[in-house]
């Protein structure tokens, strides 16, 4: 049985309105202005995935929080679980952008990486 979904693409600020036809395991995407939209739409229609951006707690610095992101997407439905799993994470300087601050988040095979530098000279 075929199902039709209207989605707003979030791959770029353009925000294309996608129409996705899902027929069994096959998704057909239209309305996309670029190939990324087709890939995103097909995935979104079946199982939405998101990159998580948040912060982790800092010790030993005047700064209180370090920005981090998941280095891949995780299921939308697991975002709040991931937030709880990140709560206890604490980092100390020095941390460089890209450094892994927590690995294999929720066993999803995705790491949490720093998106900012936290260097020792911070007061």
């Amino acid at each position: 049985m075929s199902e039709r979904k209207e989605l707003t693409c979030i791959e770029c600020p353009r925000g294309c309105r996608l129409t996705v036809e899902v027929d069994g395991g096959r998704a057909t995407v239209s309305g996309n202005a670029c190939p990324k939209g087709a890939v995103w739409g097909a995935q979104e229609a079946v199982a939405p995935m998101r990159t998580l951006t948040t912060t982790v707690a800092v010790e030993g610095s005047a700064r209180k929080r370090l920005p981090v992101r998941s280095d891949g997407t995780i299921p939308l439905a697991r975002l709040l679980d991931a937030m709880e799993a990140i709560d206890p994470v604490v980092v100390r300087p020095p941390v460089r952008r890209g450094d892994v601050v927590a690995s294999d988040l929720l066993g999803l095979g995705v790491d949490l990486v720093a998106t900012d530098d936290l260097l020792g000279e911070d007061r």
Binding site: G15, T51, L52, T54, T55, A57, P67, M83, R97
Partner: protein, 450 residues
């Protein structure tokens, strides 16, 4: 002894616009001093931990801090150093040309002289009282940017249960952020009949979390004397006046406002730089040169951009132009501008630049592509065409200089046209006179026309 510094170009602000300007000015051979109020460079991007920055500039989705670090790396590799926690207390034009800024930092007061000035001072948020929310003044009313700073930089939770007024992008981003940090976001209220933020933020910040957005609705009052205890919402009519009888009281401890940004131009005003009432930023030519010779402006100080990439782009242009101006020296013929108005015609909310320097356009050595930034004045959902027409009268029927077609235009989504210098031949017959100008006209395309 008061410290005195002299340089070619002073850049005020080390956010994305200021750092891009500083880098491009240094790359053009100018000596540059950057003055920044905060303890680190990066401006507002430091607290914008979400991703979505840099798609145009770097071809990938970066978080705000990642984007800012790229600017800082480039600036550092050019040998640039920003004066941090430094503040300009006054600015004046020198009689002999150039500028003098009085500044303070932890080291004392100092004077800074330069041939050119780049204003990259960003913008501030409109507040509750500027959108006429009534009630007492309890704790718990925050602009979205303030709530963002508290959560992302200070690691503080501003409340438990929030209502959002406005649907600007920062407000939408904060709806998601507060939800992720464990707050309950009851809903967002937008007085306009259409959302103000990007479509993708409506999707990934509200819809993902089941947060409702009420359009043509506003918050009329906040309750509570000490901490917010609730708000009153109401539907509004076409003139955005609350409709009696539609009031609803909601219980919450936090009201977050995302009701618009205002370019920060106090320093520009003190230098006598004329502003555009539509953008509330300086009127600039295609080189981001204001109407005061030697004063350049870029980024959100000129107009509120929806993408950091465009902010950087305008910074690049402002910086290289300021360097060229400074290095040319007094009396140089390249400093002589011939300005012609570029106005927002029917269907166009505003266009930046507001002026074209015909002298620079005609100079092959300096002529570069011109970036036009504009917004449509209304939603044109089924397609639109933007047409640059010669002549600055509204509804100008002059020759079409260039034309772009769009699948859709919405006022919240800024558009940018990169036009070859040659396409903007709007000069007058006699070079000494100002040109007749041009205007940008935006017209919807009806579905059957497509």
């Amino acid at each position: 002894m008061i410290r005195r510094l002299e340089t070619d170009v002073v850049v005020l602000g080390a956010g994305p616009a200021g750092l891009a300007a500083a880098c491009s000015a240094m790359e053009a051979g100018a000596r540059v001093v950057v003055v920044e109020r905060e303890e680190r460079t990066g401006g507002i991007l430091k607290q914008c931990i979400h991703d979505g920055f840099g798609l145009l500039r770097y071809g990938r989705q970066l978080s705000g801090p990642e984007y800012a670090l790229r600017d800082a790396d480039r600036f550092g590799s050019l040998g640039g150093r920003a004066m941090l926690e430094a503040f300009v207390t006054s600015a004046s034009r020198l009689e002999a040309g150039g500028f003098e800024l009085a500044c303070v930092d932890r080291g004392g007061a100092f004077l800074l002289r330069s041939a050119a000035l780049v204003l990259a001072t960003g913008c501030r948020e409109r507040t509750d009282r500027q959108v006429f929310v009534h009630g007492d003044r309890p704790a718990g009313v925050f602009t979205a940017g303030l709530a963002q700073y508290m959560i992302n930089v200070q690691g503080l939770l501003p409340g438990r249960r929030a209502v959002i007024l406005g649907s600007g992008d920062i407000g939408l981003i904060m709806a998601r952020r507060m939800t992720l940090e464990g707050m309950e976001v009851i809903g967002a209220y937008e007085a306009k009949p259409e959302p103000s933020g990007l479509s993708r933020n409506l999707r990934q910040c509200l819809d993902d979390y089941g947060i409702p957005l009420a359009l043509s609705s506003t918050v009329t009052a906040v309750h509570g004397g000490r901490r917010v205890e609730g708000v009153t919402t109401a539907r509004v009519d076409g003139a955005m006046r609350p409709i009696p009888g539609t009031e609803r009281d909601l219980s919450c401890d936090t009201l977050v406002l995302s009701v618009g940004l205002i370019p920060e131009n106090e320093l520009a005003k003190s230098l006598g730089v004329p502003l555009d009432p539509r953008t509330r930023g300086p009127r600039v030519d295609q080189n981001m040169h204001t109407l005061v010779d030697g004063v350049f402006a870029c980024g959100n100080a000129v107009h509120v951009n929806d993408l950091a990439d465009y902010v950087s782009e305008s910074g690049e242009r402002a910086g290289s132009s300021a360097a060229a101006y400074a290095l040319a020296g007094p009396g140089s013929p390249s400093r002589v501008r011939r300005l012609s108005p570029l106005s927002a015609g029917p269907g166009c909310l505003y266009v930046v630049p507001q002026l074209l320097d015909l002298a620079a356009l005609a100079d092959v050595a300096r002529a570069d592509d011109v970036c036009l930034y504009f917004r449509s004045s209304s939603t044109m959902a089924s397609g639109a065409v933007a047409r640059l027409a010669a002549g600055d009268a509204p509804g100008a029927g002059g020759a079409t200089l260039l034309e772009r077609r769009y699948r859709a235009l919405r006022p919240p989504e800024m558009e940018r046209i990169k036009a070859p210098a040659g396409s903007l031949a709007v000069g007058p017959a006699r070079p000494a006179e100002p040109g007749p100008g041009a205007s940008l006209i935006v017209e919807p395309i009806e579905p059957e026309d497509r």
